[in-house]
């Protein structure tokens, strides 16, 4: 396929879409499917057929519309109406109001800050396109960035644009993506690989799953641009086996992209070829660590190995390998399309662009949000999230999952960027953001994460394997009110030892939830000390 053929597909789909007077888009992501969106879609399709609307009203299953806590969500265009908690019996009323007016009982107002405060780059097309049809994605701009990269830019230009954009890894650590790409590009080898890390393991995080379910082509396009820039010809997506819908949609997307010629041999008629395979994770959190992930793709146990050498030099099957997280790759197409400078203008000086967060826990509006970097935690929780339900007071926000920490109320005005969060003793992480109210015990939260890390420790290095188990013992003493003051010192010593001597990121960051709760909620630990023995 050449440029003209591609352009004609874009035009054809835009024309086709414009031919319909009305569009009803129903969220068919995991969250809304669990709330029953499938039955809603079937009912509306049947009713539209009975009303003879099939030629004027297009009913589409789309990706995530964001407010997962109020699903099933449904959008009507061009009236720009959103409905929440839709049931099959609402179908007739919705179809009655296609031309105007609104079904007030299920209306989801968009002047609501949940929508107003967001800025969508990664999720721009989630909720607009049908993730099962490549033509639908192309009509909304998919693969235009790849076309521009492959036909109009050199690999050096692509890396230069990316460096200029200031994009940093969205998996949590925030390593500059342009630098990572240029390291792999410089590595001397005929065979290189690109890996997309979709092993989203943090409990409380569902950003990457939503991206892969809602806009799988965005991820594939990002991988293909990365492969072009670094000189790779093969790519792997490592995705959790639990993400059944994401796996299904990605498989279909790969097949469609290869059939159309935007993936595979001689993409857009150029000498560049790139193919993608899927590899299923099998429920090991440590496989989010890049060297463990590589071991898993090779068919081994997911044990990490010391770095250096980094995968950029010695990765999959000993070849230079680029590993990026799903959300990082989902940013690439827009950066190539609109330029590095455009991206650098979003966000703060050192943290550019937007970040997708999975907002959950004790908060009124639960869902998937994309916000510009630099927004404050308070704006996210109070404006977008609508505050704490049931009249309780806010206590802490947890970011970064088992590798992160808890931030108390006095730091809510901190801007969300890599450095500010690090200074508070937590990390940006992959994007899980769990809100806790005054009823949550912070010692119990710390214990919860430590138990997670203990269970997920691969057992290769002793500080992590034994240290996490020892910390659980101590935390249990606090939970049973049998701890002493000396246990706090011991706990702090262990945190220090485990974080400084563990082999990989799992162990190095496992103490973070304990460190941060000791820092901000020390009195909760003190309250749980064993009662002093009665003086004899």
């Amino acid at each position: 396929m050449d440029r003209d053929a591609f352009e004609s597909i874009v035009q054809k789909n835009r024309d086709e879409e414009a031919a319909y007077a009305h569009h009803v888009n129903i969220c068919m992501s995991s969250g809304c499917i669990a709330s029953g969106s499938d039955a809603v879609k079937k009912q509306i399709e049947a009713d539209a057929k009975a009303r003879d609307l099939t030629k004027t009203c297009r009913i589409t299953g789309v990706g995530c519309l964001g407010l997962c806590g109020s699903g099933p969500i449904l959008a009507v265009e061009p009236t720009n109406t959103l409905y929440q908690k839709v049931k099959p019996e609402d179908s007739d009323d919705i179809l009655d109001h296609l031309d105007g007016g609104i079904v007030e009982r299920i209306e989801l107002r968009q002047d609501n800050p949940f929508f107003q405060r967001q800025e969508r780059v990664v999720l721009a097309n989630a909720g607009k396109i049908n993730p099962d049809e490549i033509e639908s994605a192309i009509g909304h701009g998919a693969y235009a960035g790849l076309l521009k990269a492959v036909l109009d830019m050199t690999p050096e230009d692509v890396i230069k644009t990316l460096t200029q954009s200031g994009l940093r890894g969205r998996g949590g650590a925030g390593y500059p993506t342009g630098l990572k790409w240029s390291t792999v590009a410089k590595a001397r080898s005929d065979v290189k690989y690109v890996i997309c890390n979709g092993d989203e393991g943090d409990p409380g995080a569902f950003m990457d799953r939503s991206i892969m379910e809602s806009d799988p082509h965005l991820v594939l396009e990002g991988m293909a641009i990365a492969a072009y820039a670094v000189g790779a010809t093969e790519g792997y997506i490592y995705i959790r086996a639990e993400y059944g819908l994401g796996i299904k949609r990605l498989k279909r997307a790969i097949r469609q992209a290869e059939k159309l010629g935007v993936l595979g041999k001689n993409i857009f008629g150029s000498p560049f070829s790139f193919s993608v395979q899927l590899r299923l994770g099998a429920g090991a959190f440590v496989c989010g660590e890049e060297t463990a992930l590589i071991a898993s793709i090779e068919g081994h146990r997911g044990n990490p190995r010391p770095r250096p050498p980094y995968p950029a030099e010695l990765g999959l099957w000993g070849q230079p390998t680029l590993i990026n997280n799903v959300e990082t790759l989902a940013n690439i197409a827009a950066i190539i399309d609109k330029g590095g400078e455009w991206f650098a203008n979003i966000g703060t000086e050192k943290s550019n662009g937007t970040k997708v967060f999975a907002l959950s826990g004790k908060v009124n509006r639960v869902g998937l949000i994309e916000v510009p970097m630099g927004i404050t935690l308070r704006e996210i929780i109070e404006d977008i999230g609508g505050g704490i339900p049931d009249g309780y007071a806010f206590k802490a926000v947890q970011t970064g999952g088992p590798s992160g920490g808890c931030i108390p109320a006095e730091h809510l005005d901190t801007p969300v960027d890599y450095e500010s969060l690090r200074d508070l003793g937590t990390i940006m992480g992959s994007g899980g953001m769990v809100i806790m109210d005054e009823t949550s015990s912070m010692v119990s939260v710390a214990r919860y994460f430590m138990e997670f890390s203990m269970n997920e420790s691969c057992g290769k290095c002793i500080p992590c394997r034994v240290g996490t188990a020892q910390m659980i013992d101590i935390l249990n003493r606090f939970m049973n009110n049998t701890a002493t003051l000396a246990d706090i010192d011991l706990l702090e010593d262990l945190c220090d030892m485990v974080s400084h001597t563990s082999l990989c990121g799992l162990g190095q960051s496992a103490p973070n939830p304990v460190i941060s709760t000791l820092r901000y909620f020390r009195e909760e630990y003190l309250d749980r000390l064993a009662p002093a023995p009665d003086p004899v």
Partner: protein, 167 residues
Amino acid sequence: MSKQVEVAPPSDDKRWRIVNATMRRYGYTPQALIESLHSVQEAFGYLDDDSLQFVARRLQVPLSKAYGVATFYHFFSLKPPADHNCVVCMGTACYIKGSDRMSDVLSEAYEIEEGEITLDGRFALLSAHCVGACGLAPVAVVDGQIVSGLTPDNVLEKIKERIDDGS
């Protein structure tokens, strides 16, 4: 490339063809180990000794390694599944909203600990670290379907309802 060996599947069950197709797709190389075990588990519900031996021999991987991989990854099960499997999500959002109490209620009602199967093999109580449905927390996954809006008072009823629907 080492010489390939012909290994007969443990039985003439047609499902072995699916497993074999997976191994063939990767040229019967050791890298196919995890994908092949996925394929076995999808077809048979769990990995038994015979299937581990078959996959290990066909891919020329030491049996110890196949067993090591099968036990390293939580997703693989070496025990047959129950008729109905209830996975209570213990992700952060669900935990904050009290999913441990749901698990306690079910554990008491079915008289089994988490991770166990009832004696009649009908019901298994399991837990997961996060099923990614944080928006609907607290949730459980019953036979692959998400059940949401759980409270300690309604959890038993909701789970039973779903099980009865399915059987």
